[in-house]
């Protein structure tokens, strides 16, 4: 009995959660806010992976589990699969998603009209920090999912290109 929720509701909940933790609960300590958000993601990932592995055959090794995350798990969460998977065969995996759904709508705050140069480095920095706060939740989800599959790990996220128009 699968029930569905509008994607805008999920977006709204995640955005509000991040801003609540960053601006209201732990406004003075962004590292604590980041850790709480990641912990929430951990529990969500833990429980989600139970649900999504119900009909799958058992994984024989780490690579199978990572492939599951890239394909089935990612498409359940973000309606698409991972675009690129790289590994160094020594325990590090790089998952690349070219259009990560949850940050496609992030934009810099509007610049007042007097400045018409390109954004200064400090504004760029602030935007990068705000975006990275939003990435702690999905990192937590992936870490929870992998830990429940029996693979203790650490997950970190990196943005190479911010959403932009040409």
């Amino acid at each position: 009995m699968a029930r569905e929720v509008a994607e805008s509701c999920v977006d709204a909940v995640v955005i509000e959660m991040v801003s609540a933790f960053c601006d209201r609960f732990y406004s003075a300590e962004p590292e604590l806010a980041a850790r709480r958000i990641e912990a929430i993601g951990y529990q969500v990932g833990h429980q989600l992976v139970e649900r999504y592995t119900v009909d799958c055959p058992r994984f024989t090794d780490h690579l199978e589990a990572i492939k599951f995350i890239c394909k089935d798990f990612w498409s359940e969460l973000f309606k698409k699969q991972i675009d690129n998977l790289k590994t160094n065969h020594r325990g590090t995996f790089v998952l690349q998603d070219n259009m990560f759904r949850w940050i496609t709508r992030i934009s810099p705050s509007p610049v007042p009209e007097s400045k018409n140069e390109s954004p200064t480095p400090s504004e760029d920095n602030q935007l990068a920090q705000a975006t990275s706060m939003h990435l702690y939740f999905p990192c937590g989800i992936i870490r929870g999912a992998l830990t429940n599959l029996g693979i203790p790990c650490a997950v970190s996220a990196d943005i190479s290109h911010r959403p932009a128009c040409k």
């Binding site: 529990q43 429980q47 592995t53 119900v54 055959p57 058992r58 024989t60």
Partner: protein, 142 residues
Amino acid sequence: MIVCVAVVGHQNNPLYLQSFTEADDALKLHHIVHCSLDVIEERVNNPKKSGPTLNETFLGLLYPTENYKVYGYLTNTKVKFILVTTDLEVRDADVRSFFRRFHAAYVDAVSNPFHVPGKKINSKTFAARVSSIVKTFGSGAA
């Protein structure tokens, strides 16, 4: 007649144990479940490369004791479901469908945000669902 069902976590910690007989041999059932954990470990660590059973979640008949049969099922998250039954003729398809429904009930119980992973499952809804699955076991066969 299903005598007992059990859910065991990935560190072999018991998460749920329910017996369905009036007799007072709960301890004996605990012991049978505990012994079957060893059989599961052995099956998982030494896979029979010949059979197609390498990746299956359903482990099949673990071992028959004097009057009980024990069936096992292993999920991807290393949680084990164990079923102890006294039926003499049990169809494979019945047990598989039992475990499928049991897995669905387990997933719903674990998705409860108030459930702490690793602790016992205290949900009454889960207990009620398990009882109803147990009641309809085998009656669909006839």
